[in-house]
Symmetry: C2
Subunit: 398 residues, 2 copies
């Protein structure tokens, strides 16, 4: 039997995957599980998107252009205008989810052995795409103590060497909910300029910013237009994770031509998803407002509730719909597994993502978990009660 | 401005892409173009698939499982049973088109520098996916003289060294339409077994076999079950190229676990495409029969017509909907470009894919073109007339 590749061996399994068999077993015992572990919004997709499906009167479900339908790209131009991001349709390449945008960005920019610097905790799949491209992620660790603010630039500079090719940020951040300030973004800009690096900026959560602080996109930064690669997706903003429509955006034409070769090889992004995404851009302002207000409430409910549990601490996330909280446990991997395998409260338990999966060094974040607030408020309240009971029982064990 | 990766530089541009600006210019001059260059079937998608769109009553377009919906995988099991391919749903991983199946197979099986042997002419994008994985394609060249039959096994064995990890075939073949015989498939099996190689077998055209010869799938070959990776797609069989639903199928569990890590990183295959694909499996037998009969007619029309043009030779393709034909020209790249830039007959011209794009060595197939018969018979007849006139005019030039 021939062997699999070293790359495949190095690929991380999904950080929550190891918990799935435990969750399945708990469900099989009749235990109800509150899923605090997933980033799948429960809120409805816009009516305009869902309705568009009913009006597809094509006879042949044919390939779309490799960079996506122009009509969608033109509409995206107007979408970004709202955020003072000025683009032409040519600067937008439609991808199969934000995931493919990250993969193609890495494939096009990074040689095997090249390094990118990523503030951690970070979205676990960046690592998977870096391994796919043979590239190396060098982490700078942000701390829960200051709410996961950008680590000092000196921490980045310590890691810069002749293999360093880029910096990757996620803003607002998954998993921490942190929103980079103008000052922090300017520091990133200066560093990108000084060392002529790529700046990969994943901004798929821009709709979810809960404070008065401004959203500073990588595309707002002057003087590094040729260095910026924006990663985007409609998944979160329209609750349309399943349609797999994202975008890779850059003003760097050489890079776009390179990315297009990867796009042509995979022929086209999903046709039906593009139709839905295009229609969803027409959703009225009230759609986003309602979604936004719902998350504002949930955020308050979750963060207040977490900080009321003895020994638990969560900074207040400024955006996205996650928080990384510190729990009074020795090892959150063990605690999260225990919640599924050995605990229930009135027939119910909680599933969370241990934060170790969001750090390169699994020793970091040993007592942290990522919690998503994509449940109804009543369910969040109930989940918080259960989490409190679980922590009590866990720490009373020994 | 930071540089793009070497990998991106090596990535081939689509072989027909360089002709697109010429085609655009011809159209702008008012010239009608018969597209013999594309593999997008013009026949309608099954009603069942199109209708399924109207009945989607979900409120949230959520992620599907990373390996695809179980209901789709179960239905695919029954689909493959018709072809005496026995599978369990666990052995089928749903991918974003056959393209992603090829990419994930290479990523999971091949280390940078590893080699796979591919009979050529071959589908151009295999090369792109090999480059993405850092792997090397070693070609064995099939000849138009014997209808692009499998080259002798000695030709393969000459290339086998300690970096050789697999063999890739496409059966029925794109671009040649060749169907491997039982004897050829057994030879491949013996070689795969002897050297313990992976056998990547792209069989997306299995519905399109026009002779009484049997379809021998890689999955029919005994004793190499752990070596076979079947690449599949619903694109061609249901005229659903746009929905991006394919599959990677293997009985090798270690490999499946590896592939699943790449699947989890990209989260999920397209949700709506899976719904359409699942419904399309319910299309009545009459759907496939009608499509099949249409292609039988077109094939006859095209191949007879080609061989009637002085100096043109096309073998009779046994499957798929392409042929590679030899033209009486010095350089088919130049001729195909000239058809678009310098020729018209009664306001019309033809666009073909120069075969050079289907060989690693562009010197091979210098006087060959790939022609797809995905046009109505009347259009094919007209295109053949125009091709004849073009050849006359081209060769009268000097």
């Amino acid at each position: 039997m021939p062997e699999i590749s070293l790359r495949a061996e190095q690929m991380p399994a999904s950080p929550i995957r190891k918990l799935v068999p435990l969750a399945d077993a708990a469900r099989a015992r009749g235990t109800k599980i509150y899923h605090l572990n997933i980033g799948q919004p429960d809120l409805p997709s816009p009516k305009e998107g869902l309705e568009s499906l009913k009006h597809i009167d094509r006879k042949v479900l044919e390939y779309s252009p490799s960079d996506g339908y122009r009509s969608l790209r033109e509409k995206l131009v107007t979408y970004y205008e709202q955020y003072q991001i000025k683009l032409s349709p040519e600067e937008i390449i439609v991808t199969t989810g934000g995931s493919e945008a990250v993969l193609f960005a890495f494939m096009s920019c990074l040689n095997p052995g090249d390094e990118i610097i990523v503030p951690e905790p970070a979205y676990a799949n960046y690592m998977a795409f870096a391994i796919s491209a043979g590239a190396v992620i060098r982490p700078v660790v942000a701390s829960i103590e200051n709410g996961f603010a950008l680590p000092p630039i000196e921490e980045f500079e310590k890691l810069i060497n002749d293999r360093t090719r880029g910096i990757l940020i996620c803003n607002p951040n998954n998993p921490t909910g942190y929103l980079y300030t103008r000052r922090e973004m300017n520091r990133i800009r200066d560093m990108v300029k000084k060392y002529d690096l790529f700046l990969f900026s994943d901004e798929v959560y821009r709709e979810f910013i809960y404070t008065g602080s401004p959203y500073i996109s990588a595309c707002h930064l002057e003087g590094i237009e040729q260095n910026v690669v924006l990663i985007d997706s409609v998944s979160k903003r329209y609750s349309e994770c399943g349609i797999r429509i994202g975008a890779l955006i850059t003003k760097n034409k050489t890079l776009r031509n390179a990315v297009m070769k990867f796009c042509q090889a995979r022929l086209s992004p999903p046709l039906i998803g593009q139709i839905i995404a295009e229609a969803s851009i027409d959703a009225p302002r009230s759609y986003s407002t309602e979604v936004y207000e719902e998350y504002i409430e949930r955020r308050k409910c979750l963060i207040d509730g977490l900080n009321r549990i003895p020994g638990v601490y969560s900074p207040i996330p400024m955006g996205a719909f996650y928080t990384v909280a510190r729990l009074p446990v020795d090892d959150s991997d063990k605690f999260c597994a225990w919640c599924l395998s050995d605990f229930e409260y009135e027939g119910e338990t909680v599933m969370m993502a241990p934060a170790s999966g969001f750090y390169s060094d699994p020793e970091c974040g040993r007592n942290e978990v990522r919690i998503a607030y994509v449940l109804k408020k009543e369910d969040l309240e109930r989940a918080l009660l259960i989490l409190g009971k679980a922590l009590e029982a866990y720490n009373a064990r020994k």
